[in-house]
Each structure stands twice: as C-alpha cells, then as structure tokens.
Symmetry: C2
Subunit: 334 residues, 2 copies
C-alpha cells in the first residue's frame, strides 16, 4: 500500500510504499465520527505485450481533490500522485493480469485522522492507496440488470454533495438497495423531485438511447452535471466518444434533465432503443427493465439479448483504449 | 472504553470494558470508504452528594438504533446498552467531576468493520463507547452566538438522512462553517428551499420566541420533525418543558415550518423576543443576531445581555433535572 500523511502544520510528509497493513487509529479519530473520507476508483491495465496503462487518471485526481476540498481535507498535486501510483503499479506489476477484462483495481482513499470529537476541519489526514487484481465484470458476457425507480429515498440534492466521491454518499444508499433487491431488482434508479427526473443508477451514471418523437432521430442522453450527479469518468468518456463516433452516424448527444415519464412513454411507443449504466467497475452495464409505479418499463432488449448495440460498441471502444489496442491520449503508459 | 463486536453470523459478542486503546483496522474496512458510522452524544452528571445520573438515555438509544438501521448496521437493545453505560460510568466514576456544569461526556459510536470495497451491508460492526470529562460550555456565563443564514449549501432534504446522527451529516458542513467563521459568524443557520425555511443551527436545533402579530401572544417555535431536522433530545425536552411550564403563563408552543422572512419581520417589528439553539453540549445556546441577505437580524438581546429570559429558565430547569436538584423521570440514577 501507498501512504502519505498530512498535518496542518507540516503539510504532506514523505510518501511510503509498504506491505499491506492495518491502520491503527484512536477511537476518537474524526473519520469514525464525522465521515471525513473520500475516495476514487481506478484501474491499471496490462495488455498482452506487458505494457501497463492507466485510464484518464488526471480525471480521478481532479475529482479526488474536489471531494477532499469539499470536506475540509487537503489537496495533493494530481500529477505527483499519478507518478506515485505509477511507481506503485510498477512495483506491484506481477498482480496485474495480462488479459482482456482483467486489471488491478486501485483505490485511493483520504481520511481525516485527527483525534478529536470537536466538529471542525481535521488537523491531520492520511492519503493511502490499496489495490486488488480484478477479473471481468461480466465473465460470461454481458448480463443486463433490472432497476427499481426509487423516489422514497433521495440520494442527492442541489446544494448537497452528491456530485462528490465522499463516503457520506454511500452508506445511506444500502437500505434502499436491499429493499430493491428484496423485490428482485439489482439496483436503484434514483429519481429526483416531483417531476421524477432520472439522475443515476446505484453507483453508476445512467444513459438512455431513444428515438426522438418529433424528428425520428436517434438520441443518446444522460442527466446533466447539476450537482446531484456523480461526475463519472466513464460518463464523460461515453459522452466524448458518442460525439466523436455516433454523431457522424446521425445520433444526437444530449446532457439534459429527463423524466421517468419520458422514458416510459418512449418505451410504450417503441422508441426506447437501449439503456445502460456507466462506471469504472463494469465500463457499461446494460439495463433490461425498470420497475416504476407498479409497472415494468422495458428498455429495448429482446429476451435473448443482454446488451444493445451502443452499449456493446462503447465497451469495445473504451476497452480498446484502456488496453492500448487503440492509441489514444486517454491511455497513460506507465 | 466499552466495546461490543457484532457479526452477521454470530450477532453481538460479549461486551468488554478495557483500557482506552487504538482500533486496528484493515485499510479496506468499509467505515473508511462508505461512511458506515453513527454515534450519540450524552453525559453522565454527578451532584454534590456523589449520585451519578444520566439524562433521558432511552432517547439516545432509540435514536442510535434508528441511525444504525438506516445505514444497514445492527441494532442493540436500548435497555441493555444503558445498563452497560451505567456499569462503565460506575467504573469510571472518578472522572465525573461533582460540580454544576461539569460532566462526563459519553460518545457511543457504531462503525461497519467488514473488510470489503464492495458496496453492500456490512457483515461485521463494532459498537464502542469512549468518554471524557467536560467543563461548563459557558464557564463565565452565557455568551450569545451570531449565525449566518446559509442557503448555498444544504444540510438535509426530504427523503435524505438529515434526521439521523450519521457521520455522513457532519463532514459536508465544515466548509460552510469555516466560510461563516471567516465572515465573523459562529455557526450556520441552515435554510431550506426557496421559501427559506429555518431548519437548524450548526449542530443544534433552533428555537425562536416571537410575539404573534395578530394575537399579541408569546410563542415558542421550532421546526417540525419532517425528516430534515435532527431529532434532538434537548429539543424534545425544551418542547415538553415549554408545554408544562410556559403554557400556563400564556405562551403558545408550536412545532411548525417558519421562514427566515418571518423571523426578520418579527425582528423589524420588535416582536422577536429571543432565539436559541439546543443540544447536548450547551443545553441551550443564546443567539444574538443572524446575517441574512446582507443585513443583520437582531434576535432580541440588548447589548449588555447575553441570554433571554426563556433561554435562562430552560437552562436552569434542564440542569436542575440533570443534576438531580429536581426529582424528575428524565434523570436516571446509576
């Protein structure tokens, strides 16, 4: 693991790469009481020629700094941390499987370490990185998930912190997730407001492909970054690739608020082509159906189909970049 | 410290009272990543004859169980935990100063301890209690605080978890608090919605005493428990005492939504009698003024006055019960 301690008086101390080990913390440490904690999820990929790569790590670093600043934890220079992650990945290179779909999951984490029950800015912090080899999210090919549209619990709010990768955003989502699971659904689709705006899925951003009612044109759409949506690296990548590669085919690409009602209408009228979630774990995760107000909204897949065409192409494009098949500025060679 | 471990398969293990010591936790423990943590704040009081007392501990236990259930952590029988706290307080009795205003602050805390980066219900947890002697919140008598009405950051929202004592509710409030402090104010007064409803103060509930415009009657009011307000034990106690002891004097007692505009109008018309926060730390905390939209709303205190009459009487009544001057069912003898 990689560890870097910070104190308000001394700033960042020397980074250390050590064997994986427990953290020994006073029970009054502020991370246990007031959720001074934020993290990132990223991966190191190795292709068949042994080259190790990171995917858009500067985006993770920018978001980590945004998260930490929002909860009065310190910032760390993004470039310097990427250098440290690169060193770490080079040392642990034997844990990165050289096969498509496999990678080394990297978890940068920052916690407040001051021993105090006073509610105030932490005077000390620890930035650490742990890692684990991971296999393909869908080892036997895509498996479409089913969602439960959720309005009784609200993940994020304007003026809140739902756009940050804070620990605070996660624990409150587990009970709604268990309740959805009990009713046979994999994840929550978080709705917002009386308009029932579609925001995001469980721990992923959400995309829908619809045929426009007026123009008949194909549209890829996702909710805008209005402070209630996690600013996903995969979300951003899908949007960029869609503009570059789907627009020339006649697709429109929209970041805008849309409602569950709109989605349901599109489904009813045969205009909902496909839907998927995006995130670091699965890249893209196809959605089969959404439970909403006692009905099931079918998301464009046939019974024998586990993913739509855009979903499959996005996965292929992004993995091609992640593993270096395609030479692209998003892929950083270590 | 008092520690009780829990696992999903074995339930609660035997409670242990041990010397204060660090917690040794794997860096992948879920409390560091997803804010599986909740706590309570309570005090043990000792009066001059050496009798140790708790104040309404059953309320704290009920809230702790409500908090823990909301983030998929286990419940513990309230009565059994009060017995353990009582044993703990008896063992540590020498740390409870026998003087008015002094007490032993008790911090029950529950954290998720499962080693996993998967986002799901923790399979293990630790409930622990640490304590520290504390002195009077206002050693030289009341000092009225000034507040900044805050609308750019939102502490809590309907369908969220702002009514629970979760770590998740605290870290996001520090930056707004620092910003208020930079402008010379002690705490945030959290407003909600375009109506600018007054919700609570920093880490306290908020009460205002106004003279009703129509009837001329005195009114004590506080925001209702609509899911966005912490369900404060002191808030509940103030409401009960007001109904019992102020109503016979002609006061009206209201739990209702009221806006910052209403407060400002009352101040402008000389009808804002006094305002105060309530919490375990200070019992009551008088408010001098509130910064709102570039103006200062004065809360009824003269320049040479640090607390209003209701604030002073509430403190005297509640402390009288806490230290056993008044025999009352809220005070539990150990």
């Amino acid at each position: 693991m990689l560890s870097i301690e910070w104190t308000a008086s001394q700033g960042w101390l020397a980074p250390r790469i050590t064997p994986y080990q427990n953290l020994s913390l006073d029970p009054a440490t502020c991370v246990f009481h007031y959720a001074f904690e934020c993290f990132e999820g990223m991966k190191a990929y190795k292709n068949s020629d042994g080259q190790v790569r990171l995917f858009r790590p500067e985006k993770n670093m920018a978001r980590l700094n945004k998260s930490s600043a929002r909860i009065a934890l310190p910032n760390f220079t993004g470039k310097a941390f990427i250098d440290l992650i690169s060193k770490f990945a080079a040392i642990e290179e034997r844990f990165i499987p050289a096969a498509r779909g496999f990678s080394l999951y990297l978890r940068p984490t920052m916690i407040g370490t001051q021993r105090t029950l006073g509610v105030g800015p932490p005077g000390s912090a620890l930035l650490y990185l742990i890692a684990s080899p991971v296999g393909p999210y869908y080892p036997t090919g895509f498996r479409a998930v089913s969602l439960e549209a959720t309005d009784y619990a609200v993940r994020a709010w304007p003026g809140g912190v739902g756009d940050m990768k804070l620990g605070a955003n996660y624990a409150p989502c587990i009970v709604p997730q268990l309740q959805a699971a009990k009713r046979g659904f994999h994840q929550n689709l978080w709705l917002f407001g009386k308009e029932e705006f579609v925001t995001e899925v469980g721990t992923m951003n959400f995309f829908a492909c619809i045929k426009d009612k007026e123009t008949g044109k194909n549209k890829l759409m996702t909710a805008p970054l209005d402070g209630t949506i996690l600013e996903g690296v995969m979300r951003d990548s899908v949007l960029d690739l869609a503009k570059e590669r789907l627009k020339p085919e006649g697709w429109e690409v929209e970041e805008r608020k849309f409602t569950m009602g709109e989605l349901a209408d599109a489904a009813d009228e045969g205009r909902l082509i496909e839907a998927f979630g995006t995130g670091t774990a699965a890249v893209v995760s196809p959605v089969r159906k959404i439970s909403w107000k006692g009905r099931l909204v079918e998301c464009g897949l046939n019974e024998d189909q586990e993913a739509g065409d855009v979903t499959k192409r996005m996965k292929a494009w992004i993995e091609g970049i992640q593993y270096g098949d395609e030479d692209h500025s998003w892929s950083w060679k270590i």
